[in-house]
């Protein structure tokens, strides 16, 4: 009797430790799976270039890009990264704030919708890059036109997300709020905003993606620093390796910033009872 009770905990502790290591692996495996395609492609590219299957002056192999990255780093790559990231951060913040204020107004008030929504939709119909010449004329070629363009890009997805989110709130939840005597701001804060959070996050992530896109557009046109400037510089000096390095850096920054939003979303929306494959 005492013998079994001595051996059992020992068995349990070893068998508990083993699955712990295995328990981490599904997420790790998924990450590996996601990396398989790009890494495989890079390896194939490297191999093809080493074997001389193609002339690498237009499509430099990954090893050369690493060299370019080191060279750019020595020449002050950080300055470009910081410049672009700051522009996106400031533009996204402004666009998001405006989108949330106007989206909230239009979502909550039919009168505000009648007043504002037609104009917003009309402006949305203009391809945003069409603003560039006007912004340059009005605001010069400094930071201001770039920030405004980025904010414009971020604005619409956030606006549309919040309006749709508020409009889709389940009528029955609003009725519950009514029974508890909620109206006006308390109803907004306790029912309408939490309920429209999923749609708002979709809008925020879309807006962030567009903010990066418009940052590149703005920097391609007129900039002395930033990743967009690197792209132009690489083209003008016939350096596809610089262009490709800048593209890869843009991809990494975009993915990183979206990852931050996604983590925030997962934390805020942990209550959602949604499909998980």
């Amino acid at each position: 009797m005492s013998k079994t009770s001595l051996t059992l905990p020992a068995l349990a502790s070893t068998s508990r430790r083993q699955p712990l290591r295995l328990a981490l692996s599904p997420a790790f495996k998924r990450a590996l799976l996601g990396l398989a395609l790009p890494l495989g492609l890079l390896a194939a590219l490297e191999l093809a270039s080493q074997l001389g299957w193609y002339r690498s002056n237009l499509l430099p192999p990954p090893s050369e890009l690493l060299g370019t990255l080191a060279e750019l780093w020595r020449q002050g790559l950080l300055k470009h990264l910081v410049a672009s990231t700051l522009r996106v951060a400031v533009g996204f913040a402004i666009g998001t704030a405006a989108g949330m204020v106007l989206g909230g107004l239009v979502g909550l008030s039919r009168r505000a919708e009648a007043l504002l929504d037609p104009s917003v939709q009309a402006i949305r119909a203009i391809p945003s890059l069409a603003w560039v010449p006007l912004l340059l004329l009005w605001l010069g070629i400094d930071e201001a036109p770039k920030i405004v363009l980025i904010a414009l890009g971020a604005f619409f997805p956030v606006y549309l997300g919040l309006v749709a989110g508020i409009r889709d709130v389940d009528r029955r939840w609003v009725e519950l709020g009514t029974i508890y005597g909620l109206h006006g701001w308390p109803l907004v804060r306790r029912i309408l905003l939490p309920a429209s959070l999923p749609a708002l996050f979709t809008g925020l992530r879309g807006g962030l993606g567009l903010a990066w896109m418009f940052m590149v557009a703005a920097e391609l046109i007129a900039a002395t620093k930033g990743l967009g400037y690197l792209l132009t510089d690489g083209r003008e000096t016939s350096r596809p390796d610089i262009v490709l390095t800048a593209i890869v850096l843009l991809a990494l920054l975009g993915k990183l910033s979206d990852g931050i939003l996604k983590a925030l979303e997962r934390r805020q929306l942990a209550w959602r009872d949604s499909f998980k494959a």
């Binding site: 029955r172 939840w173 519950l176 029974i179 005597g181 029912i191 939490p194 959070l197 209550w271 959602r272």
Partner: protein, 242 residues
């Protein structure tokens, strides 16, 4: 003795259609009364009028002798589905009346214990079964100390066995809190098992009032319940409701 709740609806219309026409009844304190009838007879509308959710009607409502219009804190409402807010924990849902921070109110734990959900304070609604969610809804309904608790087909979405357990739970908490209960249902067995009185309703109004003179706890197999069920069915048949 004056009644706790007095209901008189002269007329309730949706556009051209008259849904309720001269319906009136009273609830004594501590009573459990059911409105039994088929879909579309206006019984849910009547309940929503009493709750203050439907304000456009001709008639009078009074709680404890005081006439009222619209919402009334003395009247609690439990919906057909639990209607918990998915972003709030169980405790926050129960204490919804208090707003943020209400989850720490000591009454949350007491009520959860009463409905048999001790320890689930921090669970999210998505983790609950249908029966558990409806128990949380009952706890939330009781949190405001309502004098009258209105229930709109509250157990129609759960399986038969869960339903019986929830019915017993309702009787228990109503007794515990001295709550007067008005329940809308389309299930004759449920109405007769739970109630002191059953108001059988059809499009034409309240056709019959059945007294259930059985002490609680009741035996679901009691022959008197079957006889009363026959009477209810006869009344519904006579009103062309079935």
């Amino acid at each position: 003795m004056t009644a706790l709740l007095n209901v008189h609806v002269e007329q309730k219309r949706y556009g051209e259609r008259t849904v309720l026409d001269r319906i009136g009844f009273a609830l004594q304190a501590g009573e459990i009364v059911s409105l039994l009838g088929p879909s579309g007879c206006g019984k849910s509308t009547l309940l929503r009028i009493i709750a203050g959710l439907e304000r456009e009607f001709d008639g009078r409502l009074a709680l404890a002798g005081q006439g009222y219009e619209g919402l009334n804190r003395g009247i609690g409402f439990i919906f057909q589905e639990p209607r918990l807010l998915p972003w709030l924990t169980v405790a926050e849902n129960v204490a919804f009346d208090l707003g943020s921070g209400g989850a720490n109110d000591p009454r949350v734990g007491e009520l959860l214990a009463e409905v048999g959900l001790t320890g689930l304070n921090n669970a999210l609604p998505k983790q609950l079964s249908g029966g558990q969610a409806q128990r949380v809804a009952i706890a939330r309904g009781l949190f405001r100390h309502p004098q009258v608790l209105l229930l709109d087909e509250p157990f129609s979405a759960v399986d038969a066995f869960t339903r019986m357990r929830l019915q017993d739970l309702l009787l228990e908490v109503a007794k515990q809190h001295g709550t007067t209960v008005l329940l809308v249902t389309h299930d004759p067995d449920e109405a007769l098992y739970l109630s002191d009185r059953v108001l059988v309703m059809s499009q034409s109004g309240i056709d019959v009032e059945l007294e259930v003179p059985l002490a609680r706890p009741r035996d679901r197999r009691h022959p008197a319940l079957s006889e009363l069920k026959n009477a209810a069915l006869t009344a519904l048949f006579a009103a062309h409701a079935i």
